[in-house]
Subunit: 771 residues, 2 copies
Amino acid sequence: MFYGREQILNLWEIVQDEYNPEENKKYETIFTLANGYRGLRGYNEFSNKGWKGNFIAGIYDKSEAEVQEIVNNPDPLTIKFYMDGKAINLDNHKIRRFKRFLDMRKAVLKTNLEVELSSGEILTINAERFVSKNNVHRWAAKYEIVPKNFSGKLIIENTIDGSITNSVNDPYKEAKHYNVLKMKDLRPGIFLKSSTKDKAIDVIEATTLRCYRNNNNLLRNRSFKILGDKVKELYEIFLEKNETYTIYKYGVTYTTRDNISDIEKVSEEALVGFAFEGYEKELKKHSEEWEKIWEDIDIEIKGDEKAQLGIRFNVFQLTSCANKNDSNISIAAKGLHGEGYKGHIFWDTEIFMVPFFIYTQPETAKSLLLYRYNTLSGARENAFLNGYKGAQFPWESTDNGLETTPKWGKDYLGNPVRIWTGDEEIHITADIPFAYWEYFRATNDEKFLFDYGAEIFFETAKFWESRLEYNGHKDRYEINNVIGPDEFHEHVNNNAYTNYLARWNLQKAYEISNLLKQKDFIKYDTLCNNLGLSEKDFNNWKEISEKIFIPKFDNTELIEQFEGYFQLKDYVINEWDKNKMPLWPKGVEINKLDKTQLVKQADVVMLLLLLEDEFDSNTKKLNYDYYEKRTMHKSSLSPSMYSIMGLKVGDHHNAYEYFMKTVMTDLENNQGNTEFGLHAASTGGSWQSIVYGFGGLGVDENGVLNLNPWIPEKWEKLSFKINWKGARITINIFQDKVILESTQDLTVKVFSQDCHLISYKSFVFDTSNTI
Amino acid sequence: MFYGREQILNLWEIVQDEYNPEENKKYETIFTLANGYRGLRGYNEFSNKGWKGNFIAGIYDKSEAEVQEIVNNPDPLTIKFYMDGKAINLDNHKIRRFKRFLDMRKAVLKTNLEVELSSGEILTINAERFVSKNNVHRWAAKYEIVPKNFSGKLIIENTIDGSITNSVNDPYKEAKHYNVLKMKDLRPGIFLKSSTKDKAIDVIEATTLRCYRNNNNLLRNRSFKILGDKVKELYEIFLEKNETYTIYKYGVTYTTRDNISDIEKVSEEALVGFAFEGYEKELKKHSEEWEKIWEDIDIEIKGDEKAQLGIRFNVFQLTSCANKNDSNISIAAKGLHGEGYKGHIFWDTEIFMVPFFIYTQPETAKSLLLYRYNTLSGARENAFLNGYKGAQFPWESTDNGLETTPKWGKDYLGNPVRIWTGDEEIHITADIPFAYWEYFRATNDEKFLFDYGAEIFFETAKFWESRLEYNGHKDRYEINNVIGPDEFHEHVNNNAYTNYLARWNLQKAYEISNLLKQKDFIKYDTLCNNLGLSEKDFNNWKEISEKIFIPKFDNTELIEQFEGYFQLKDYVINEWDKNKMPLWPKGVEINKLDKTQLVKQADVVMLLLLLEDEFDSNTKKLNYDYYEKRTMHKSSLSPSMYSIMGLKVGDHHNAYEYFMKTVMTDLENNQGNTEFGLHAASTGGSWQSIVYGFGGLGVDENGVLNLNPWIPEKWEKLSFKINWKGARITINIFQDKVILESTQDLTVKVFSQDCHLISYKSFVFDTSNTI
């Protein structure tokens, strides 16, 4: 169990305390260490049964693969320890003690083990590893080795493995995305330079070992060798019984994406510098960086250890994925944690993850949003290729904004099967401006809105304008042949979510044009000239937006997910599995889901959440009740949204269950595919469940921050911090009160009552009589 | 157990009927298929826990290794079958049935298995493989697959693996001896061309798959890919429940050693031709070749199934190592079966293996002898580098006759330790002419003796002449500072074996000079001019040979292994382990063996066997009795010799034990290192035990064949064939008679009585009253 056998002893540690090689790949994802620049899967050096993963953000390659995918680069982690000619390996030796854990506070992965070799020698190894947040080019590992009952010779083999491929689990898809250009002996240390096949992005991995005792170097009999695409160095250490030997492994990584002129020279010097500075010094700086981050992101849940540990895991790994210093990259659906979805970037980032960054690390949010601005040229080309105007953001994005959703998959017989999401799941083009707006609303960052957001809004509005189909007969605009968030239904007409968001997009573009014109006419004029727009266009957007059709049930407020949805065969979920996940209602044919009202994931409910203030609470409840019974949650993006909406409409019990499902997605592997990478959207959804759901945080039509908190009975306290228009607000929710503290004077509403916060003074709101 | 659980069912099959991954490497050696041109280790395609081995005779490389070693080439065998995305693997799946066996009669390796996948699917696979003796460039495999209880899709991944290295078990010694030059798609089929690092010997492996049913090609959805140093092709087959699918894999191998002009073109055409001709046709030709070979080599032992199966295994694998069409190669100490001793060639070949070929396949013997003639230039260089004349054959030889014994090893602490065998174990230089003489004696092939043997004798005689040290004080010649066959003692003076063989070498050289002069003066004169020799030299050899010192105990016939041996501390073996192998006598210090009379392996006893007719039976018994008690048999070369001598001196019981130990060396892994390759000398020793020992075959001073057979009580019959001076003699030994049949009229002696054999008529010799 991830939280220890019986009890959670440390609410900052994710623990694996039983070794089962079948679980190696799952734990590799959970134990991935990432610093935004790169992710190193939590490969266990003492087993061969895993998938090595060295992903560097922004390095994609197609070459022999079907579409561009994140490159699994040469692995610098590999190290082997030999006793009596046999590698120390958990799969071969008797394991006397085993514990592996992620210390999230310091962002260090630790392994404690004791093995007994066949000849009876007992060896204790305490290993740890970190991927520096202080200097993203650095990573290091430390191995403390104690021969308990013998003296003997240990051989250490340090390797950079240039034989790594993508998709090792799939013989048809397996691909090697780089050529090994150069391997070198750094005397000491080893060096491997690879280059991606399509774009020739060079990646250098360099590592070196150190082992001192009383200032004596213990690494003897060094040997260097190149074996095919692997470069190695070997050492011997003579172990004395019961003494402790500490071996440090230093690694540096540089790529031609770094915009450094001579990465070979730089990496070699950096490696020497790192080894000279030492492990502990860098670890300290790294942990201090994480301490600062935790100041921003930590959430405290008192009275629910599982939820506490879980939410920390989610915000930790989500933060690990982001790099505020590189606005040409974003966060992939599987983070930097695995090859799932080929490292592609979906709406998951803007709708599920970006809110977390907006409210906790707005500079990072800005960088993530800029990624879309920086890939506008690709989005424009997508629109052009599809016969539309403006910019059409890709359903799956890599380094250039071009659509990279595979057009074809294969069925069981190897026959081609068309994949339609890249053509039809066009709501992404509204989801991105939505995130820009959310950022603006929380930060008041007008400059960013005008410099970047306006162009995003205008270009996407252009797209929608050209995409809308006028139905003269009904005098309305329609968007036909789409896929909404619910992917069970393809080629549908007038998906409510898509149409509503498109309308919102056009209206906001119109509003922003007015705002910009009024506040900075020069910028307005320049942008209009650049984009070929004039006031007539903006007015037209407003006009057509008002005629966009939103399907509803008769004259009620029950929104029809898409036109004709209510005519489909109706099944209602009435059984759940032991994990409380819905079971298929009896009689449903899995290959004819499009003929039923069953829904893969939140769709109408998503809409009600995103545009909260456009719907009253009755509408929310009506729709929640209807769709909740029909949503199969076959996406990890779904439970968090139902959790939030559940809290809004008073379905507290289900809301807590949905929250726990979300927060445990990877730790309990409840989607069954954690081995392929982090469910990054779900980590963002977990944060939203806490802050938007239990915290009840919202923004009203006047732009005022509202809190309508509710916490489960067993929670003594829920605390978190948010950034709001330049201020930092600490929110502590108790069963009977809410205590707020802001770094600036500020007015917020708690349960609709104005609260005037004075900077750095606690504001106590008594809630004991509220509900 | 190699011979089946309880009973031996088929005396032609070596069976593994329990799967234990720990034993994979041992069975890889035992199940190696070789055709003299190449050896393919018996790698189990359904496990990753082994050492792939593709050795091509004569391809050596040093590059980063310490000395030249046999190259482990890219592996063409690799094939994987995937069901439900998982490779079928004995280490992961439930094994319902398992049997692997070597059908020695047809030289086919078969694997029968039934596995149950985690989802309950049961799959039967019957695989077989052969390495053609008909066309040495061809090898093939066949896989019969039956899905017992399901229909489903099978993915087949055919690979040529160019990542293979030597010494994978030793991180310090691991080396890759080739570069991958080219990988190609043969549409269908895959191609990999590698080139050795030092001498740029190119090796091409090419393979292709076929699967037809009712003339329909069942291999669908082909995909080709290159992943680093691996080239692959993938197919899908749709399996119907309970149907049988037969997949053939065809392979061809060509190298620039083949003296073919365009090996790329040739190999591609050969592959197409092979696949077109078909598996069964080539298998038939291959098996017919083996049928012919078995006509020559088979030994029948009635009444002792273990001995029967064992002796067949030994002569089968020994024959597999030889290639009569290539006289630039010889048989390595570990055959073509493993990397042990780096593929080097020792005295093992001439003294232990060549006799088998002389008497069963004289053309092959000739080719093996020619290897030494063809490497004379290296042997001359060795002598020159050491300050001697003539030719000094290397203790360890590869492709050029230069000494390749490593000069330095490492002790446990990594400190250099001098290896002296290459400098001091000089008896090899007499062992080689000895084998030439044995060949001549059995074949009367005067032409070969004059064309090649004479030069070998003269050049080695020159060496001995220069190597002898005259002791003026004692008026004798000595050979000091040597290692005899017993390697426990280094830097010894006047090793009896070495001195005796050197004397014999000089005397025979003198005799041959006379014979040649008399029979073919022109050849004699030419050779003398070529080698700078004259009658004076020959006479000198005779003279000095008579003064070579042979140490003995006082005035007895007990030969002293070397000068001073009898002064060493005397320990006598008095305990044996459960395998009846000697245990160290109490008090012996293993690191001071050179101070004791304990002997690693037959040394004096070897001498008594080789030069049988120079010693009377009392001398043999005296020495046997003395040394038998002091020989630890720490070499697989030892027990066979004691077996033969035991039979000569009447120690029948021990002789049988020694014989069984020899014959079981690899099958019972009684040296504990079968995984590193065949104990090839021991296979030859097994044959010698049978023919020289139980058959009692010898040649008397008049060159007449003598038989003094003795067989154990439980043996009803022992039969074998030998070639003798152009005739083929079949020898059937019963408890009470010997039946002989010859293809030519011939006189031989049985128990010292003349027997006049009439061609193709059985000659019955009644032995019931003889002993």
